[in-house]
């Protein structure tokens, strides 16, 4: 038996090291990309070179004849079953086949796959696939796609409009009419890529006789993959085992079953059961996974002179690319967020998600909140400016409060937004800087945001289960369905288990996200894991503790209600006296007399409701997290370059289970936000990605990172495990607006089109000040 580490007793709130850290810093951890199995074949997807075309004929004979090629598949092998990620609530919108049989709708669309003995043979075979296409006219711009007469991408979809979400609450027209100041703005948000460091990778194996599939995968939601795989294979859920290995980032990009996952298993079946590995190249990762929805945001609002936000109307148009993916929920997510932060009772915004012949738009960190964050938070500053009010004061007047029900029926319980705003203002010295540094071309700007922790939009339930297994030697396993994709959930969940069980974190090991052995969890998205899986962990630990205490009580003839385990000791609550050590108590459970295995179980399902797509009402999350972000910038009026001098992010995280991890999430999110603001712009020319590499698509590098200060606000949420809330995504939501607002404070120009490149800054300066920019 190992000695427990005293440092890690009562671990909640401590920055304990990552549970998987040693493997990661020594290179020993095996990612899906690292897996080699006996007889493993290399799989490749057969992709369309055209953005829009009808498939006339696919001839695979030459490829099949190439020595070393073990299997080639097309839609004939996979069937014409359609799958989709929003299938549960929107079955009519399911529009993608594992391999397309009739039409291709973007460059990269999958029509087949092949497996060969090595990379070189597989590449050679790809060139031997003969496909006859009838080229169809494509449409690449969402506004063009909506026009009557535009090429139709999917059958029976009028004007290529995939989803319409009309949010209509109160009477915004009347309220805007009654306002003292009204303005209208249009904002443009570009597309972007996740760029996980590990590309999409899977290894599929099909056992013909036992009818069993195993899929090893780099993923955020293995249970979701299992469900889609079982559907496409017409198998039972437990015929499909999806094992998530160490995953090199996700950010929303690894949240769906992709054709590659299905294809690897069909290829394995056809190749006689040998495992087939498909790993995306970096180019495929940029062009054939998922991308951010580029959006146009039109907002019109009215305010009273005293700063009261009266009503808002608007329109959101989102470029969905070739298929539905998470279209409906993303639209809901981008529009509904305003109700988390502002007490607005009258709002009408209609969202349109439009098909184009471009790669599929889907989930990416913030889930539409980055686009709405830029539009809404820029618009709010402009409204404040219109009535001559400090933008921070304007926000403080209109923000949501603790324990309220928003106009769209969101139920807000803990809410530290006011504290977030005030803390960020104090830390940044807002009052002494705002409007006072324009002589230096410096400015300071603010943005606020709210975020969910879970979403009732994917299944009838969104539960997460946990199992705590206390071994005879007092080492502890925690089994969870939640996927750690690098964010550190295995660590945070283990901290919660150790805290609740009253033991040191050093006893913990975590086994996660294997559909055959861990309990169910919907996946790592919507910042839900710490909150929902955390509650599952807490309940499982509590159950395990009760089992131990029951035996102690029985053995010593004590009242179990008077017993607890705290800091490695069984204690009597009434006398505060230690009765026996945790180790002794466990020994008793496994003793000659009792022989009772300690297996604690927990399941948590938050009480929430999906968004009603006729009205926009619903409470998708059991609680909400909040933040205020302030950016200080300096604008070089000669070359148009914006330098961020510092970012402050004040974040209501409920309770920081692991403060260092929480800070790191915020910092990583801020970096991603900065990338979107300044350089990340996934470009397409006639449907072809023009910058599918790290040279053309610049993500933030070490030299691009400004000083960042994270300020953690702990509101102790009544439903959160130890009060914790989700927080992984929110930090990048207000970054663009905070910077745009700071730029206006610095040099008086208003940037409404992302990314903020020097040429756009120079153009705006020229428009405002003419040729002679001597500010």
């Amino acid at each position: 038996m190992q000695e427990f580490d005293k440092k890690f007793v009562n671990p909640v709130g401590k920055s304990v090291p990552r549970i998987d850290g040693k493997g990661l810093v020594t290179g020993q951890t095996k990612f899906a990309y690292d897996v080699q199995l006996p007889g493993m074949l290399v799989g490749k997807m057969i992709r369309s070179p055209h953005p829009h075309a009808r498939i006339i004929k696919i001839d695979t004979t030459k490829a099949e004849a190439l020595p070393g090629v073990k299997a080639v598949i097309t839609a004939k092998d996979t069937g014409e079953i359609k799958f989709g990620s929003n299938e549960f609530f929107f079955p009519h919108l399911v529009d993608q086949m594992p391999l397309e049989s009739q039409k291709v709708r973007y460059i990269g669309d999958e029509i087949g796959a092949l497996a060969a003995i090595d990379e070189e043979t597989a590449e050679k075979a790809l060139k031997l696939i003969d496909v006859e296409y009838e080229i169809l006219p494509g449409v690449f711009d969402m506004l063009e796609a909506m026009k009557p007469g535009a090429p139709q991408i999917h059958e029976n979809v009028r004007n290529n409009i995939n989803v319409i979400l009309p949010v209509n609450i109160g009477n915004p027209d009347r309220l805007i009419k009654e306002s003292d100041y009204v303005r209208e703005d249009v904002f443009y948000c570009q597309s972007a890529a996740h760029t996980c460091m590990e590309t999409h990778t899977c290894i599929g194996q099909y056992e013909n006789f036992s009818n069993k599939i195993t899929l090893w995968i780099s993923h955020q939601a293995p249970f979701k993959v299992r469900e889609a795989m079982a559907k496409c294979f017409k198998m039972d859920l437990n015929d499909v085992r999806v094992i998530k290995l160490a995953t090199g980032g996700g950010f929303g990009g690894k949240l769906e079953m992709l054709p590659m996952d299905f294809a690897s298993c069909v290829l394995s079946k056809k190749a006689g059961g040998f495992p087939v590995k498909i790993a995306y190249t970096r180019e495929e990762e940029f062009t054939c996974s998922r991308r951010k929805h580029n959006m146009i945001y039109k907002l019109k609002s009215g305010v009273k002179k005293d700063g009261t936000l009266m009503g808002m109307t608007g329109e959101v148009i989102a470029d969905g690319g070739a298929y539905c993916s998470y279209g409906p929920t993303l639209l809901a997510s981008t529009i509904m967020r305003i109700f988390m932060t502002y007490q607005i009772k009258h709002l009408r915004i209609t969202g349109y998600r439009v098909y184009t012949n471009t790669p599929i738009s889907g989930a990416i960190r913030g889930f539409g909140g980055v686009q709405s964050g830029f539009a809404v938070e820029s618009h709010m500053d402009l409204l404040a400016q219109g009535i001559g009010m400090d933008p921070a004061e304007f926000r403080l007047k209109n923000i949501t409060t603790p324990n309220m029900v928003a106009a769209n029926k969101m139920v807000i319980s803990s809410n530290g937004l006011k504290e977030c705003i005030e803390t960020s203002m104090n830390a940044s010295d807002w009052k002494n800087k705002r409007g006072k540094q324009s002589h230096l071309h410096r400015g300071i700007g603010m943005g606020i945001a709210g975020d969910v922790m879970g979403s009732k939009m994917y299944k009838a339930h969104e539960s997460s289960g946990g199992i705590v297994k206390v071994e005879e030697d007092c080492s502890i396993y925690f089994f969870t369905g939640a996927s750690d994709t690098g964010q550190g959930s295995n660590t945070a969940l283990s901290q919660i288990v150790a805290q609740e069980l009253g033991v040191s974190y050093s006893r913990m090991k975590c086994i996660s996200a294997d559909t055959a052995i861990t309990p169910f969890d919907t996946g790592s998205f919507a910042s839900r894991v710490t909150f929902i899986a955390g509650n599952g962990a807490l309940l499982a630990a509590r159950d395990a503790k009760e089992q131990i205490l029951k035996i102690v009580a029985q053995d010593l003839h004590l009242d179990i209600k008077d017993l607890d385990i705290q800091a490695e000791e069984v204690i009597m609550l009434s006398t505060k006296k230690n009765i026996m050590s945790f180790e002794k108590a466990v020994k008793l459970c496994y003793s000659f007399n009792y022989g009772h295995q300690i297996l604690g179980r927990g399941s948590f399902n938050p009480q929430t409701s999906p968004v009603d797509f006729r009205t926009g009402e619903g409470n998708v999350s059991a609680s909400y997290s909040f933040e205020s972000q302030i950016a200080e910038v300096e604008v070089n009026t000669k070359d148009g370059k914006i330098t961020v001098l510092k970012l402050w992010d004040s974040h209501d995280v409920g309770k920081a289970i692991n403060p260092s991890s929480v800070e790191s999430q915020i910092e990583g999110s801020l970096a991603m936000g900065l990338g979107y603001v300044f350089s990340e712009d996934l470009k397409f020319e006639n449907g072809r990605c023009a910058n599918a590499n790290f040279e053309g698509y610049r993500i933030p590098r070490s030299v691009d990172i400004p000083p960042m200060e994270t300020l953690l606000i702990e509101t102790i949420d009544p439903q959160g495990p130890y009060g914790a809330k989700g927080m992984g995504e929110a930090a990048l939501l207000p970054t663009a607006a905070a910077i745009a607002n700071a730029v206006e404070d610095a040099v008086g120009i208003r940037l409404k089109e992302l990314p903020f490149t020097p040429d756009k800054v120079l153009k705006a300066l020229k428009e405002k000040y003419g040729e002679d920019i001597n500010l």
Binding site: T29, D34, E198, G486, M672
Partner: protein
Amino acid sequence: MQITFKLNKKNYSLDLQGHETLLEVIRNLLGLTGTKEACGEGECGACTVFANGKTVLSCLTLACDCDGYDILTIEGLSDGQTLHPIQEAFLEKGAVQCGFCMSGMILAAKNILDQNPLPNLEEIKKGLDGNLCRCAGYPKIFDAIEEAGKKIIKAK
């Protein structure tokens, strides 16, 4: 083509076709998967290894050009008993998220600290310019390198 090199203090003699990259040899032939590939084009730094005391991008380096070289990968950084001070510092400072960039990042950190164990922030940033991290946003990596330098000096 016959080449020999030292890798993580062990001698290897390999028969290569000639076109293999150092990364392919390390990962596929020798089974050391700590060194990662994230772009294959020399733009991300995930495949960073040391060759004759200098960092190189193993995805752009031909293995046959490394004949007689002394190569170090992440697997050879610690003595197998205790973590190297850089690895320790990365854990203590919470610099690791998904970890896929970590092997390259830690070796890039070693390169910085080999030159100057007390680098300032600008030197750290410049030294990491070729190593992409998408998760952690770098600040905790900067802290970890600073801390590792202190540990290295203390150990001497």
